[in-house]
Amino acid sequence: MVAGLLPRARRAARGRDGAPAAAAPGRGAAVSLRGVGHAFALNGAPLPVLDDVGFDVAPGAFVALLGPSGCGKSTLLRLVAGLEPPGRGEIAVDGVPLRGPDPSRGLVFQDPTLYPWRSVFGNVAVGPEARGVLGRERGRVDAALALVGLSGFAEAFPHQLSGGMAQRVALARALVNEPPLLLLDEPLGKLDSLTRLAMQGELVRLWREKGFSALLVTHDVEEALVLAQRIIVFSDRPARIKADIANDRPYPRHREDPELVEARRGILDLLGTP
């Protein structure tokens, strides 16, 4: 087991991150990135943030993208969401090249970014409403709220919620379209440590229940180890893949698990942190 957790060659884990036994089969999307590069313009000069990034995500896999702050992981996630086209390379979901954002790819940010003028129900209903099917899919909104345990707060407004509750609403909003791919951009980054632990368990539960593929951006090694089946470690900006680590410890995982503790040490070494 320990060997399986040690850093291995790039892309070595392809095919090893099959859907877990508990996940509903066939619901997750397959993602493939080929030679993706991207740069921002900073004071007129191009600032490269991604350099030749390529990997595949098997349907239903939970993959963490780990790297130092500001290395370009979040940009990568925006590209996969379709919010920006990549400067170079190609991204495809289920074999189809991306063309703009799509409800089949849910996105959760570090900030809940709820609409303050809408109730909790109204926020979760944005998906069906934007697609013009709210009349038919009210039940889905209720189901999504129930899924994150907020059925009793449908009428509340965002300013009345705690940080953890707001982030749950954001999760329900991303899940209401039942997306085969969920993109998580440090979704627990701003929560207090207790809420964070609870939400980590919650994320694993939702993933196993719904069977979507999950792509989690994080800079917290422990969080990546507790949640993901596979951890892709990025270098500093411009981000390149430094290591691709399979993690097939069974769920539910415990952060005190000696194998995870050892893997954590290995990854921290890799990131250049003593």
């Binding site: 996105l107 609409y115 003028w117 944005v126 409403e129 934007a130 697609r131 300013h159 909003r173």
Partner: protein, 337 residues
């Protein structure tokens, strides 16, 4: 330890409540207000006027009636409904008002310290309301009609333009310079031009009021739309939103707090333009009434019209605040008007 502290705290509370319930005149300041108003009524009636003013007995009677009302409300063991509670909240103001009215009455009607006819006593203003209410009401009606027409037009045009400028780069390119050049010009500066370009003084004034409203509404709607958190759009786009959804359901609601600031500024500006337009061109409305009263040296009428105007403007601002509170109830920490 904690238990004991709680129990002693709990014991102290009902004690204070009982002391409160035991006091008999429950609203001493309201009783004082009642007595002050009755005293003012007595002084007004008994002290002979220095000049010839109509309505002095009627004015004294009204003061006495109000004072008796306050006194009765103050002596009641419990306030009567919401109105009674409000009266108690305002009791200090009622005492102060009696003092101010008394000072005014003495300085004008009783001792004639202030020169007549520029500073009429309160009863002269009461007399205006009694004698000239029809003309005043007609003026209010004309002013409101003109204001409503211009304000609604200006608000709709300003809002639409603001959204267009904030959303579309192309519209912004063409409108922004015009707005910067022409917008800061006070609407009243257009007055001479408007009065000969437009077919009637009414339509000219409507245009001017609309202009005064439109500029701040445009600028603030625009800045509201431009300041919307970009992540709001990202969220909506990943959920399948089209551009119409982004404008109508994301950008506009997010910009509404700014839009209301523009609507408030526009309302204030429109009052100013309305009064000037009525003084200079339109032969009706409160602005015209002010001008007319001054022309006839009917200063009491002028004060009466000013009072009505203050009431109307304040009422309209209050109305706008109510609308805002309803629409923006999701916002925290709204200013209370």
């Amino acid at each position: 330890m904690r238990d004991i502290a709680l129990r002693s705290g709990a014991a102290a509370l009902p004690g204070r409540g009982e002391a409160r319930r035991a006091g008999v005149p429950l609203a001493p300041s309201l009783v004082a207000a009642g007595l002050a108003w009755i005293g003012l009524a007595a002084a007004t009636a008994a002290w002979p006027d220095a000049g010839d003013f109509g309505c002095t007995p009627e004015f004294a009677g009204a003061l006495a009636a109000l004072g008796t009302g306050f006194l009765a409300a103050g002596l009641l063991p419990r306030p009567l409904g919401a109105a009674g509670r409000r009266l108690r909240d305002w009791s200090h103001w009622l005492v102060a008002l009696a003092a101010l009215l008394g000072l005014w009455e003495v300085a004008t009607a009783k001792l004639a310290w202030l020169p007549m006819p520029f500073f009429p006593p309160p009863q002269a203003i009461v007399e205006v309301f009694v004698d000239d209410y029809a003309r005043l009401a007609d003026s209010v009606w004309h002013s409101l009609r003109l204001l409503a027409g211009g304000y609604v037009l200006g608000a709709i045009a300003g809002f639409t333009l603001g959204v267009a400028v904030g959303w579309s780069r192309a519209v912004g390119y063409w409108v922004h310079p015009v707005l910067r050049f022409v917008g800061p010009l006070p609407a009243t500066a257009w007055l001479p031009l408007a009065f000969f370009v437009f077919p009637s003084s009414g339509s000219a004034s409507t245009f001017l009021v609309a202009l005064a409203t439109g500029f701040p509404v445009t600028v603030l709607t625009w800045s509201g739309i431009a300041g919307v958190n970009k992540a709001y759009y990202d969220v909506a786009r990943t959920l399948g939103a089209r551009e119409s959804f982004l404008i109508l359901r994301v950008a506009i609601p997010a910009a509404l707090p700014h839009v209301f600031v523009g609507l408030f500024m526009g309302l204030g500006g429109s009052f100013a333009v309305l009064v000037v337009a009525e003084m200079l061109g339109v032969k009706a409305g409160l602005g015209w009434y002010l001008q007319w009263a001054q022309g006839w040296a009917a200063y009491a009428n002028m004060y009466a019209a000013l009072a009505v105007m203050a009431l109307a403007c304040s009422g309209l601002i209050t109305l706008l605040f109510r609308v805002r509170d309803r629409l923006l109830s999701w916002q925290k920490g709204l200013v209370q008007w």
